[in-house]
């Protein structure tokens, strides 16, 4: 014990000596107060508050680092240019002033680790219709002298043909835009974002350009210690959350303390491009996905995306299995009764689409025709609401692809779908065309269970506002739908090259997903068969023991679980039980429980039947010898009964394997669900289902061979 203590002291002493030797200046530096220059006013990085105390991201970071590293700073708001010059002349030790790291500046300064990422954005008046640089032609644009934003504006001035007017400070520049003298201004993104948060009547309309990093600077070759301390301190405050707190304080709650660090399970649809779909790498992308991830990132929480399908997601939310749903979900009054919605994040509307070569051009031509809709969508509601008026009848599908297919094959003459979804699908090659204007325009919202997860809802709203202000929101939308509604930029996510559309190509490309789906299917099957067999044998035996009560229990269990459709049982266990008990059930467990009960009931029935099929004289003979019931059962009846049951067991195993596909309803990523997801992305329904079917057949063939082998071996 003593030795250990000495050892530790020894090491500590050694390290301290080493440390002192390496940085001789440390001792003197500690006594010293560093003089740090900064701008006069560059909110949110540095500005005087009401008490005339300097605050801001730069100031707070500098102070936090000084505290962390044990040195003192004297911050001098001398103005950007003066600060830079004073460092050059050696009057100040360093400068922190929202100073972008540029090659030019690197010649004269040594920069610390970049501490903030920034970019130039364009802002316009709140009511302005200007959305892009193109619209600036011949117009006047306000700039602030000597800023990176001004440099950027000047660099594109010629190309877009606008004039500039320069101001010495930001407020005057903003004023020039709000009064309408200028149509736009260019500013660093965080500065602009902060200004808008403070009530400026401007909006950001472009995504950050010319992105760069802010850095802390010292004179080239000087003050190395200070620079290293800054780097070390920055690392510490970034690690311990101080950094996030500081940035959040000025730019919106990046780390929302209500949700920070928490993980929320978010349900979504399997197939709803461009809002949610799996990309080539089987990662879920789309407007909803990017949005919720960006908000989570901004607010400091984590999300676990569960693409369980729209209906399952909504039901799981209702039963409390998941925390939220973002799934192109229209905000309706009916839904408001059960869910609390965020501020709308997208405006949609319902359109009608027909086959590319269809002659139908209006609703009135639908009379007597068949129209395809997707269950539970607002497009379906809309179609149903006008069904009578236009005299068509409807057929419903569970996912979009099947619905489109029904129209392209000519089974139905038209389908109804949300506008962005339809547009996206057509871009992806679905042979349909939109022939109506968006009707019933409805806002999409993020939903939580009514009265629950209010912190998450608030975080979503606040994050959404921040993303809108920062332009991230528009970027996301543009990524999938194009900047202009006519642009087709949406090739990014789903465009597969044509060689990956052959069978071989599809198999190669989706190998990983298919195999992991197969693995899940096999696991489900094996685990379920195991438990179902145990359950089935127990219940079956209860049915033949000489006890009226046990026989009754057995009959009731068999009746109940054999009588209930597997789908209903799965949904009941997965969404119903949690509603009753308030405890969540993992989907896999719910799946296994479902199959255990359902397949187990069938097994129980044939176990009972198999035993009853054994000649009763066998039992009488065994009992007559003095063998007790249990022994007679084990040694005489069961061996004969099992031989009768084996074909039924094999049959049941195969049925169980196939029945796992039904569990895709509760979002289990087994083979069928995997197929659905792949098709959602590439719309190659026929080929992918062929591959999936072949995989099932291969497994079932193997299982049959195995069973036959077992059967041969047990035959006498």
């Amino acid at each position: 014990m003593k030795h250990k203590v000495f050892k530790i002291f020894g090491w500590a002493a050694f390290l301290m000596t080493l440390f002192f030797c390496l940085s001789q200046t440390t001792i003197t530096a500690q006594a010293k107060t560093y003089q740090i220059g900064t701008d006069v006013t560059y909110p949110p990085f540095e500005f005087a508050n009401k008490q005339n105390k300097y605050i801001g991201i730069d100031i707070d970071i500098m102070n936090a680092i000084a505290k962390e590293e044990g040195f003192k700073v004297n911050i001098k708001p001398v103005g950007f240019n003066a600060a830079v010059q004073s460092v050059q002349s050696g009057q100040l030790d360093g400068v922190i002033a929202g100073m972008t790291i540029t090659p030019d500046r690197k010649v004269k300064f040594d920069f610390g680790t970049p501490y903030y990422k920034t970019g130039v954005v364009m802002a316009v008046g709140k009511n302005s219709h200007i959305k892009s640089f193109k619209q600036l032609k011949g117009k006047r644009v306000a700039l602030k002298t000597g800023t990176a934003a001004a440099d950027y504006a000047n660099s594109i001035k010629k190309k877009y043909g606008f004039k500039t007017v320069t101001f010495d400070d930001s407020n005057n520049m903003y004023e020039d835009v709000t009064t309408g003298n200028s149509v736009a201004c260019f500013e660093d993104q965080p500065v602009m974002q902060y200004g808008i948060k403070q009530g400026l009547k401007l909006k950001i309309v472009t995504s950050p350009a010319n992105t760069g990093w802010y850095g802390f600077a010292v004179k080239k070759g000087q003050n190395k210690t200070l620079r290293l301390k800054f780097n070390r301190g920055l690392k510490k405050i970034q690690a311990n959350g101080t950094y996030d707190q500081i940035v959040g304080k000025y730019l919106g709650n990046k780390t929302n303390p209500q949700v920070k660090g928490k993980t929320f399970t978010i349900g979504t649809d399997v197939t709803f491009p461009p809002f949610e779909f799996a990309n080539k790498h089987n990662k879920y992308v789309g407007i909803d996905m990017d949005l919720i991830r960006a908000i989570a990132n901004e607010q400091g929480f984590k999300v676990k995306i569960k693409p369980v399908g729209f209906n399952a997601a909504v039901q799981s939310l209702e039963s409390g299995q998941i925390d939220g749903v973002i799934s192109g979900m229209s905000i309706t009054n009916a839904r408001k009764a059960k869910f609390d919605f965020s501020k709308p994040y997208f405006m949609s509307g319902v359109v009608m689409a027909v086959a590319k070569n269809s002659k139908i051009t209006s609703l009135s031509q639908l009379k007597g025709k068949r129209v395809a809709i997707k269950t539970g969508t607002s497009a379906a509601d809309y179609a149903n609401s006008i069904k009578k008026k236009y005299g068509f009848h409807t057929v419903t599908f569970d996912d979009s692809n099947n619905m489109y297919q029904d129209v392209t094959t000519g089974n139905s003459v038209a389908c109804f779908e949300d506008h962005p979804v339809m547009k996206y699908a057509i871009k992806q090659g679905t042979k349909l065309k939109i022939i109506t204007k968006p009707a019933e325009s409805a806002p999409y919202g993020f939903a939580v269970k009514r009265g629950h997860n209010q912190a998450l809802l608030a975080a979503f709203n606040s994050g959404l506002a921040d993303l809108k202000a920062s332009g991230t929101y528009d970027n996301i939308k543009a990524k999938y739908l194009g900047t202009n509604d006519n642009d087709s930029v949406a090739k990014t996510a789903a465009a597969d090259d044509s060689d990956s559309r052959t069978f071989i190509g599809l198999i190669k490309q989706n190998q990983g997903a298919l195999l992991s789906g197969l693995k899940e299917t096999m696991w489900l099957t094996i685990v379920s068969i195991f438990f179902a067999t145990i359950f089935g044998i127990i219940v079956g035996l209860l049915g033949v023991v000489p006890s009226k009560f046990s026989n009754g229990v057995s009959s009731v269990l068999i009746y109940l679980f054999r009588g209930m459709p597997l789908l209903v049982l799965a949904l009941f266990i997965y969404t119903g039980i949690p509603s009753l008990t308030g405890t969540k059930i993992p989907a896999f467990v719910a799946g296994v429980v479902t199959l255990t009960f359902n397949e187990g009931a069938y097994i129980a029935a044939f176990v009972k039947g198999g035993i009853e099929a054994v000649d009763p004289g066998q039992m009488e003979a065994a009992r007559s010898l003095g063998l007790p019931f249990g022994k007679s059962m084990r040694k005489v009846i069961l061996p004969q009964g099992i031989r009768i049951m084996i074909p039924s067991f094999i049959n049941q195993f195969i049925i169980t394997l196939k029945d796992t596909s039904i569990l895709s309803i509760i979002g289990l990523l087994e083979l069928t669900q995997t197929g659905k997801i792949i098709i959602a992305r590439n719309l190659e329904g026929f080929k992918v289902w062929t591959i999936v079917a072949a995989m099932y057949l291969i497994i079932i063939t193997l299982l049959t061979w195995l069973s036959n082998w077992v059967q041969r071996r047990t035959k006498v």
Binding site: D615, G617, A621, R623, S624, L625, V636, V716
Partner: protein
């Protein structure tokens, strides 16, 4: 002569159907009792009640001074002492001939596997089937199966043997072998209750013949009394019928 088995006022009903209507019957040590009577008269039910394959509705069945009809009795132990031979043999079809005979002694820990195997071979010899130890049940003829069934019952070393029409499911040429085994048993002093229509066997082996009709014992006596001088008219009818066949 000591009393081995005493049935008093035995009544058995199936639902509303009274099948045994108050049977009184005593069987003495080493006695061979043959029960005869028309089909459906309750002979099997009576025999099955004797080892409680049928639960008596009322009355008592005392075997070795124990009332086996009473609730508290451990019926499995009682059955170890009562051998039962069925009309349809009921050999365990999942087991070999040897295993059929060995099952109960081994399972009930009366004997080790080896002892049981030796005993089984011994018993097979006495029923004339020593070469069939490893044979499957399915490969045997009816007569052979019934002899194995008798050997199986004897393996538990019972002191009473019950036979329910042991030869009536057999082809005529097989009957002799089975009856020979039974005669042999009787000679050795086994207490036996036999339901049969083999009048030759009854005359030769039985100490007493009991006539059951409609759930009642109508007459009993030595074979000579019953067969040569039947008093009851229904017995006379019955004998006329079977002897004229």
């Amino acid at each position: 002569m000591s009393e081995k088995l005493k049935v008093t006022n035995l009544v058995k009903t199936f639902g509303t159907n009274e099948v045994l209507k108050g049977i009184n019957l005593t069987v003495n040590q080493n006695e061979v009792v043959v029960i005869i009577g028309p089909s459906g008269s309750g002979k099997s039910t009576l025999l099955r009640a004797l080892n409680r394959l049928e639960e008596p509705t009322s009355g008592s069945i005392v075997i070795n001074n124990v009332d086996i009809a009473s609730k508290g009795v451990d019926i499995d132990t009682v059955r170890e002492n009562i051998g039962m031979v069925f009309q349809h043999f009921n050999l365990f079809s999942n087991l070999s001939v040897g295993e059929n005979i060995m099952l109960a002694p081994v399972e009930l820990k009366k004997e080790t596997k080896e002892q049981a195997a030796n005993q089984a071979k011994q018993l097979l010899k006495t029923v004339g089937l020593e070469e069939k130890f490893d044979a499957t049940v399915q490969s045997l003829s009816g007569g052979q199966q019934q002899r194995v069934a008798i050997a199986r019952a004897l393996a538990m070393d019972p002191d009473i043997m019950l036979f329910d029409e042991p030869t009536s499911a057999l082809d005529p040429e097989m009957v002799g072998d089975v009856l020979a085994v039974m005669k042999d048993l009787a000679k050795k002093g086994m207490t036996m209750v036999v339901v049969t229509h083999e009048m030759g066997f009854a005359k030769e082996v039985a100490d007493r013949v009991v006539f059951v009709d409609n759930g009642q014992i109508l007459e009993q006596g030595t074979p000579e009394q019953v067969f040569e001088h039947p008093k009851n008219s229904r017995l006379q009818d019955f004998l006329n019928k079977i002897l004229n066949v």
